[in-house]
Symmetry: C2
DNA sequence: GTGTACATGTAATCCGTTACATGATTCC
DNA sequence: GGAATCATGTAACGGATTACATGTACAC
């Protein structure tokens, strides 16, 4: 586990993944407020990661600034709205997030699939309620798929956004798969009910 | 927080999902120790939810006992091993978890897909590293699929386990889809690299 | 004048993990 | 004798959320 390359052998302060995610949002070079970051994260990260709350974004930004990975300045309310603090990534921040992206160990995806937990407890449920849960999940998945699809279309052909666009495509397929899995399971349940000795 | 009656529409103390998961493990009627629960949860819940740590299982069990949803007794070390505390679900517990499974609002699955977060930051990565990340993820997914597949085979045709078996089947398909999505994205990246003006 | 979007932050709380402590038994 | 597994728990910590507080501008 020795990373002698990359000029600086300092072992990166162990920031949580969320910090890197926020710094990642800034790594595209734009100067953004906490509010902006939250909205953007809702539309992008949300599809494959998760979107931190406002309060966490604000505290994360403070931490990044203290670490020297970001700087901020106040923007006067030129027209409407009130004071606004915008953040920009620093050179150190860019180096750090790049190093993280390249060298951090990859931990497996975290999945907490509520609907499946419920169906796993099928012996406690009425079949109708099970179908409802699956139908609800199917709708959720299709909704997410549509959002991803729309966002892929919105994303221009710009080189800068090639990889974010790629992950949107991935998300579109992922939620299509989730939808199909719900359908398949609905069919499985139907079969199970049919084959069950007269209830 | 007044628990005046039973069997009425009392609004269930707001236990976290993990409590319900543990109570769910007990809802199959077996008498189990914290240690057993952890091992079982690693092989079952892990595939679609997540497996709490030992320490959390132990504290969750204490909470369930205090709430009256489970009881425990000490088992003497008849042969080998030391004292063991085994838990069993109570009637109230069974009622509660059933009510929860039937009526609790379904919140969307939580996905924190580390690999995708990294690829979203593709502009910071060397193409080779990106392929490595995807290959690693592909392997992870295939590994999980194989485990699910094996567990489906292990699970007998017993009626009691019909729904757990169903979710195992779901997991098998889910991880197959994850594997295929990794392959598709690998191909997408290959194409992107080919089409990129001479780097 | 009421609601909604913009905009930032604090406090309380809780969920969950890691590290640590302990100790018996079994296998090599 | 030493490692691995069984077995249970405490303490410290940190990640993240909800609720709350505050205030502006604009649309209806």
């Amino acid at each position: 586990m020795d990373e002698t390359t990359e000029g600086a052998p300092e072992p990166l302060p162990g920031l949580p993944a969320t910090s890197w995610a926020v710094l990642g949002l800034l790594s595209f070079g734009r100067e953004l407020s906490g509010y902006d970051l939250k909205k953007w994260s809702d539309r992008s990260l949300r599809l494959f990661y998760w979107s931190p709350s406002f309060s966490q974004i604000y505290s994360e930004l403070k931490r990044l600034e203290k670490t020297g990975y970001a700087t901020s300045r106040l923007v006067a309310p030129e027209s409407g709205t009130r004071d606004k603090r915008v953040y920009r990534i620093t050179d150190e921040g860019l180096t750090a997030v790049r190093t993280w992206a390249r060298t951090a160990p990859l931990d497996p995806p975290v999945l907490k699939h509520g609907p499946m937990l419920r169906l796993w407890l099928g012996h406690l449920l009425e079949p109708d309620r099970m179908r409802e849960i699956l139908a609800g999940h199917r709708e959720y998945a299709e909704g997410m798929r549509l959002r991803a699809e729309a966002d892929v279309a919105d994303a221009g052909a710009d080189e800068t956004w090639a990889y974010p666009r790629l992950t949107l495509t991935w998300a579109e397929r992922y939620y299509a798969a989730e939808r199909d899995l719900a359908d398949a399971m609905l069919a499985d349940i139907e079969r199970l009910e049919r084959e069950r000795p007269g209830d």
